[in-house]
Symmetry: C2
Subunit: 263 residues, 2 copies
């Protein structure tokens, strides 16, 4: 009997990625939180930590490692250099490599930031009756740079990046309420319905990920996205950084339920 | 006609403190958020920022300044070196001064952290019918070091400090729900009813602030407290730091309503 991707345990998903499988993680290991990864040298870590504090919607922090460490309490036994299905390596703000293993790029002073990912609330959306188009279409989620500027921190500044899901008009309030409950994975949408006012000219040409169909009676709903630091790394021409490849997330052992608000 | 302390505008309150008035700020400038202050040299700021990220209940960040700056968008025109009613100055973890003006201690590399304060939710408690005893008794709130350890960050570690308000048993659920709505000012209590399990032997001898009366039918309710970094500064023997004096907070222009959850 074949195990569906949704039914995989997080460690099983990570083992497949460790063996080299390169695939977006939306729909994998249902019920467990996924995370964006950003690794920067210690000398840039204060600016990035402050950037996350000042921009909690795109950058909700789940964990920050000690310098050089590739482990996290979010997934004991995992190796952050191997267990994601795709990485991006950046030098002076330019993308220089897209490996599935970043051991060759690792350094003793790299501090790794794990940020909540909106894939985490897709199970809750489906349970509430809200369709998730990129899952239906077997694609990566579409992501867009916007004209909204993040609040800068030190040398770091750049545009807000958003993910988009088309939602039937009558279900927009449900989608807002369901996702508002989980601020640790971006929370409520930042924008509903008007791509142009975010500076998005054409939904069919996303800056990251794949386009998806928007059907009659649906409106595009935009959530803050953990790819934002990648746009910031580019703009700041940071000497060095490692990130996940958009949509190719770190699957943690943290249950979605652990992220629901308990203030 | 005399203006009550509660009816003062934040700028009026700050002007009185700037002129040297030394008094706890509970009950002042109703409806506006108050903040804890912690200033540390830039070289210690990464550890403190990480400590706050790892311990959001005692250390909910409202703002982090640029090095050397004494201004904040939370209160345009305010001077963070003058406008609090009491400061503490720390050297090697020892309290060395308790001035009402820290201009003489200021340095170009000081980064100031402003953390939410539980005084902010006292208006909401009163509106919900929950009495606030230290206000009734005209005292500072009692605060206690606990045996709960915070999650360390770099050189920084130490115990969780809590504030205590006695609440009639039947109103404890109300107190929890009202304060859970404002995580930016410590949110829901961390503990209800059993001081001994927090390592507090005697409620009548708080580590900071004043004791208050606990009446029959009331239980002590404990909230995480922004004095926690002061206990951490002591334990870490940080070479230098400036903080507010416990209970003598920075009154901001931020309306309480702005802090309610919008995820």
């Amino acid at each position: 009997m074949e195990t569906t991707l949704a039914a995989l345990a997080p460690a099983e998903a990570r083992a497949r990625f460790r063996s080299g499988e390169r695939v977006p993680t939306s729909g994998w290991a249902d019920g467990f939180a996924q995370a964006n990864l950003v690794s920067v040298p210690r000398e840039a870590a204060y600016d990035l930590l402050l950037f996350c504090q000042r921009n909690p919607k795109p950058c909700p922090l789940l964990d920050v490692t000690e310098p050089g460490s590739w482990t996290t309490p979010l997934a004991p036994g995992a190796d952050l250099r191997l267990d994601l299905p795709g990485y991006r390596v950046w030098q002076d703000g330019r993308l220089v490599d897209e490996p599935t293993d970043v051991r060759g790029w690792w350094a003793d002073d790299l501090v790794t930031f794990l940020l909540g990912c909106s894939f985490t609330f897709e199970t809750a959306l489906l349970e509430a009756g809200v369709p998730v188009r990129h899952l239906e279409q077997g694609r990566n989620v579409p992501m867009y740079r916007t004209v909204r500027e993040c609040r800068p921190a030190g040398r770091l500044s750049g545009p807000l990046v958003v993910s988009m899901r088309p939602v039937p008009s009558e279900l927009v309030p449900t989608a807002v309420q369901v996702t508002a409950l989980v601020p640790a994975v971006h929370g409520a949408p930042v924008h509903v319905g008007n791509p142009a006012s975010l500076g998005i000219d054409d939904l069919d040409t996303p800056d990251y990920g794949d386009p998806v169909e928007v059907r009659p009676g649906e409106v595009p709903v935009f959530w803050a996205c953990g790819v934002t630091p990648q746009a910031v790394i580019e703009q700041a021409r940071l000497p060095f950084a490692v990130t996940h490849a958009p949509g190719h997330m770190f699957v943690t052992d943290l249950a979605d339920a652990d992220l629901r608000r308990a203030g």
